[in-house]
């Protein structure tokens, strides 16, 4: 009743507002894109290896065209991993989270370095290390959100482990 009266008054008198501010607004964060990015990097490394084995040293336009596309996608998705993790780290992770998970800053730095190395190299081991680190980040993220996680085989062309939330 009182709220209704004040609301009516507000429509005429424009009561000043005070902001119970969340990050734009109570943001939606999810490490899923980073995980997809890491899996894509592995897939591109596999495709590049397969492409070289199938074509040997035949230097055709088709060979270079496909190779350029694989490399471009690998570059793009390694950078996507870094971007997505940076956003969650900068906008979602708070001081109390890093107190609870003191390995977080080191883990994020590791992902940045592995993301760069995955761009510089065509190395499945590096790509796997990137995925492992991103999965570890996802486990911590979902723990902060109060959700349990499980590891499943990805349903994509790269059948590697993915951490998924138990929603």
């Amino acid at each position: 009743m009182l709220h209704k009266i004040i609301k009516g008054l507000d429509q005429h008198a424009q009561i000043e507002s005070v902001d119970a501010h969340c990050d734009i607004p109570c943001g939606i964060y999810d490490p899923h894109h980073a995980q997809i990015g890491a899996l894509t990097v592995i897939r591109m490394v596999d495709l590049i290896d397969q492409h070289v084995k199938e074509h040997g040293k035949i230097e055709t336009a088709e060979f270079f065209n496909s190779m350029a596309r694989y490399i471009a996608v690998k570059e793009e998705h390694a950078e996507l991993v870094k971007h997505e993790i940076r956003v969650i780290w900068g906008d979602f992770i708070k001081e109390n989270h890093t107190e609870q998970f003191p390995q977080l800053h080191g883990l994020v730095h590791k992902i940045m370095a592995l993301g760069s190395k995955a761009r510089q190299t065509v190395d499945r081991e590096t790509a796997m290390l990137l995925l492992d680190a991103v999965n570890e980040f996802a486990e911590i993220f979902w723990q902060i959100k109060g959700k349990g996680t499980k590891r499943v085989k990805s349903p994509y062309s790269v059948s590697e482990d993915m951490v998924v939330p138990e929603l």
Binding site: H3, E16, A20, C22
Partner: protein, 98 residues
């Protein structure tokens, strides 16, 4: 001395909901000094005019650590403690929608 303000946002949900009204009092606060658990309104240089709950009183009441209720609330975890000089008032009456 007293101000009627409208709450916008969900940082203090479910205690304070978007669209609730609050009556605030300026210092010296009629209900005594600010203590942990009080809800205060203050000017924050980057984020503007904010309402948050005091989680800790620091420096003998000269600064306050404030928190929202949401995991992604923008609060002292982002901008540090709030000095008393920036506090505009303490909530003394909460007018809920329901």
């Amino acid at each position: 001395m007293f101000r009627l303000l409208k709450v916008l946002g969900r940082s203090l949900h479910p205690d304070f909901q978007d669209g609730d009204y609050v009556l605030t009092a300026k210092a010296p606060f009629p209900s005594g000094k600010i203590k942990a658990g009080d809800v205060i309104v203050f000017r924050q240089p980057v984020h503007g005019f904010l309402i948050k709950r005091v989680s800790r009183v620091l420096d003998a009441g000269q600064t306050f650590e404030v928190r929202g209720t949401q995991v992604d609330s923008t609060d002292s975890r982002n901008f540090g403690p709030v000095p008393l000089s920036r506090v505009s008032g303490k909530v003394i009456w909460h007018i809920r929608q329901k």
